[in-house]
């Protein structure tokens, strides 16, 4: 068989089967949340003011670590349960970066390059900043357009019409009467639905990513970096979007670009977990195209600006930004 086709199938299968277990985890969590989490419960425990609640959302990954694939599945259910959209965006974007597993793997990947703590700090810091600012932008848009930004399945249920409200006696009775079998049946139904639903788009994303990967040579990006640093930041962002790496693994790939300036690596590491082909396909199951475009634009511009700024700071201070 044609080796190019086999390479394509290998990349495709690798991305798919790597993400599959985490989609299952996400789907089971989604099923359990759907069944047991009381409506509007999250709103009650979140800080009432916008900025603190968004910041809590961005830092939530430290408490509930999830990779970017699983997060998408869970988010849709949480949105339905009344999690504010801005919070959801903050967690969605920052969660895959600001969690202990990823922090450790980032530190580990750059440990021998002597820039471990630096990379971890900058990656988390930028991830947090980008997530919070994007969440605030989304919040502003949400006030303009409301739930039209979301796909129907992600619409929050109107307040007051939840299964805990005493307004309808029949339902509150039924909650207590549900048998274990019924509960399991519901959980399995939600989980299977979400699994199949998201997996379809994961597969499509993996196909696109695998096609794109056929045509990129990371080597050339690295060569470019010595000539045009600003161009390379953009180049690394494109690379991150096309490669669809798991946020646990991308630090090792970034570290393999040994002669790349730290700003290029950061662009790769901050952008990748937020925006990539596979994620964009999966986002279509929660967000309408308009919202996806908003997120995409906000994240892209910010990551570029911040990493360019960091490049400038390194240059002004005479730091090489290269492994010792």
């Amino acid at each position: 068989m044609d080796p190019t086709l086999l390479d394509f199938l290998l990349t495709f299968s690798a991305i798919l089967w790597e993400a599959m277990p985490f989609i299952v985890v996400g789907a089971v969590i989604a099923g359990v949340l759907e069944e047991f989490l009381p409506q509007q419960f999250i709103t009650r425990i979140l800080p009432p003011r916008l900025l603190p609640s968004v910041m809590v959302g961005a830092g939530l990954g430290l408490v509930f670590p999830m990779c970017e694939c699983g997060i998408v599945v869970v988010m849709r259910r949480l949105l339905r349960k009344g999690l504010p959209l801005a919070c959801c965006i903050a967690y969605l974007l920052a969660g895959p970066i600001i969690n202990l597993v990823v922090i450790f793997s980032t530190w580990f990947a750059f440990r021998d390059h002597k820039i471990g703590p630096e990379m971890v700090g900058l990656r988390c810091g930028l991830g947090f900043l980008v997530a919070v600012v994007t969440a605030l932008i989304v919040h502003w848009q949400y006030r303009l357009y409301g739930s039209d930004l979301l796909t129907p399945l992600a619409h929050p249920r109107p307040p007051g019409k939840n299964n805990l409200s005493p307004s309808t006696s029949s339902s509150s009775e039924s909650v207590g009467r549900r048998t274990l079998f019924q509960r399991l049946s519901h959980i399995s139904a939600t989980a299977l639905h979400d699994f199949v639903d998201i997996t379809v788009f994961l597969i499509l994303g993996a196909v696109l990513a695998a096609v794109a990967k056929q045509y990129i040579a990371p080597d050339e990006v690295e060569r470019l970096s010595r000539e045009a640093p600003l161009l390379v930041i953009g180049g690394m962002m494109v690379l991150a979007a096309l490669m669809c790496l798991c946020s646990e693994a991308d630090a090792f790939v970034a570290a393999s670009f040994t002669s790349l300036h730290i700003s290029g690596k950061l662009a790769f590491l901050v952008y990748g977990p937020m925006i990539d082909i596979k994620l964009m396909m999966m986002y279509t199951r929660i967000f309408r195209p308009r919202l996806i475009l908003i997120i995409f634009t906000a994240v892209t511009i910010q990551v570029f600006l911040y990493t360019a700024l960091i490049h400038l700071i390194y240059q002004l201070n005479g730091w090489t930004g290269l492994p010792g």
Binding site: P3, L6, D7, L9, L10, S13, A14, W17, E18, M20, F22, V24, E35, D112, K114, S147, D148, T151, P152, L153, H155, P158, K161, N162, N163, T168, S170, S171, S174, R178, Q182, S185, H186, S188, A189, A191, L192, H193, F195, V196, D197, T199, V200, F201, I203, L204, A209, P218, M243, L245, C246, A249, D250, F252, V253, T258, S259, R288, P323, G324
Partner: protein
């Protein structure tokens, strides 16, 4: 449960003429605001179709999810994951497969139970787009399976009172319209959802509605086809190897030769460890360079160019990972250089006396594969080796600064050409 947001069929077609009112109790009734609930009693033709479509679709979901789980488990057992994922993720795939199988079994039992219910209540059952509703006139029975409905693929029973209300009111909620998987950015439309009704979308939607069942089934079929793709790959036994040679060469990229003068350069600052005169009058000195390289220098009495040889040694097996990591660390470089290493990897010729030995490394999955390489310098011209041959090499470790760059390259200086020999193929990946 797959059906809730993707089965607009039944109601959409019937919906257009009806007034859209929001049923106050609907959220609590169904737990799902995003579905169009219409209760059409007497449309038995549609009901029958709807029910069979509902079961078809449910069974297909169970089938395809079950296949997915089966393939995940089989890939773990058959070792097919070795080319795809790093070992720490193999167990995850197995666990994921088992979890899906459990869900599938649970779901199958629930569907079987629903089917049983369907038979028992023939004539009182209908589908509200994805929800199987059993209308019982029997109040006792009603309590047996009341509110057995999440996203609606569960049997419902309604009290007579509720039914009266339902016959008058259509619960039109929004609903995901079928959007073909190839064009997911196509707007997913809303339907008459009280509160946020989207007019532009509804217009588009009306056109879609005309396609009726066929359109919707084709959407489900399209999704199933997408899901079947990776499953069928497994049954074809693909992918069964790592990246092609062309791809590996591209990963390795351009490598420039360090040059034949490397040994002379490294020997410049050597200090003499031992000195002796041989029988033929030539002077033999054992040298040790600052980089830890142990050399044997022979000067003939005729004053010709001295001959430099590397000293061999016992050597120990080392990993590409360790050598590559050490290249970034001054202390590690110091401690490793001069040691004799034995390394196995694939061959890639760079020159007469120089080649790259490489192995692949993956952190999580094949998509993050990077080549790990060590430069090998041999004293005499090397022949009989082809690119991608598996080769075992023994020699002294050095770290050489890459010209024009701030990084070091691990190099193995081979004392004798016999220290390079073909070996049995190993796993592609050094883990």
């Amino acid at each position: 449960m797959i059906s809730c947001d993707d089965w607009p069929v039944f109601s959409e077609r019937q919906q257009s003429a009806q007034t859209q009112l929001q049923h106050p109790g609907v959220y609590t009734m169904t737990d799902m605001p995003d579905h169009t609930h219409e209760h059409h009693h007497g449309h038995h033709h549609h009901e029958g179709e709807a029910i069979s479509a509902y079961f078809t679709e449910q069974l297909l979901t169970i089938l395809v999810a079950g296949l997915f789980g089966f393939v995940a488990i089989q890939m773990y057992r058959g070792g097919m994951l070795n080319n795809l994922l790093a070992p720490q993720f193999h167990t995850w795939v197995l666990a994921g497969g088992i979890a899906i199988m459990c869900l599938v079994i649970l779901r199958a039992v629930a569907i079987w139970y629903e089917a049983g219910l369907l038979q028992a209540h023939a004539g009182h059952v209908h589908i509200h787009d994805g929800h199987l509703h059993v209308h019982s006139h029997d109040h006792h029975h009603h309590h047996d399976h009341d509110h057995d409905h999440g996203c609606g693929d569960h049997p419902h029973t309604h009290s007579n009172k509720q039914r009266e209300a339902e016959t008058e009111q259509i619960h039109a909620h929004e609903q995901a319209a079928p959007s073909p998987p190839a064009a997911p950015e196509a707007p997913i439309s809303q339907h008459g959802h009280a509160g946020h009704h989207n007019e532009t979308d509804s217009e588009e939607e009306d056109e879609e509605v005309d396609h009726g069942h066929s359109h919707d089934l084709s959407w489900v079929m399209a999704r199933l086809l997408v899901l079947i793709f990776p499953v069928s790959l497994y049954f074809l036994g693909l992918p069964n190897a790592t990246y092609s040679k062309e791809r590996q060469l591209r990963m390795l990229g351009q490598e420039s030769s360090l040059g034949a003068e490397l040994l002379q350069e490294l020997a410049k600052d050597a200090e003499i460890v031992e000195e002796k005169t041989l029988e033929d009058g030539s002077l033999q000195r054992t040298l040790k360079t600052k980089t830890g390289l142990r050399l044997l220098e022979t000067r003939k009495p005729d004053g010709s160019q001295p001959r430099l040889e590397l000293l061999g040694g016992e050597g120990r097996r080392m990993r590409f990972n360790d050598l590559n990591d050490a290249a970034f660390d001054e202390a590690k470089r110091q401690s490793l250089q001069g040691q004799t290493a034995i390394l196995e990897g694939r061959f890639r010729r760079l020159g007469d006396k120089e080649f790259t030995l490489f192995r692949l490394k993956m952190t999580c999955c094949a998509a993050d594969t990077v080549p790990l390489r060590v430069r090998i310098v041999v004293p005499q011209a090397l022949s009989g080796f082809q690119d991608f041959d598996w080769v075992e090499v023994k020699g002294q470790i050095q770290f050489v600064k890459v010209p024009g760059q701030e990084r070091y390259l691990p190099v193995i200086m081979v004392a004798d050409i016999t220290d390079v020999r073909k070996t049995e193929p190993k796993g592609e990946y050094e883990l």
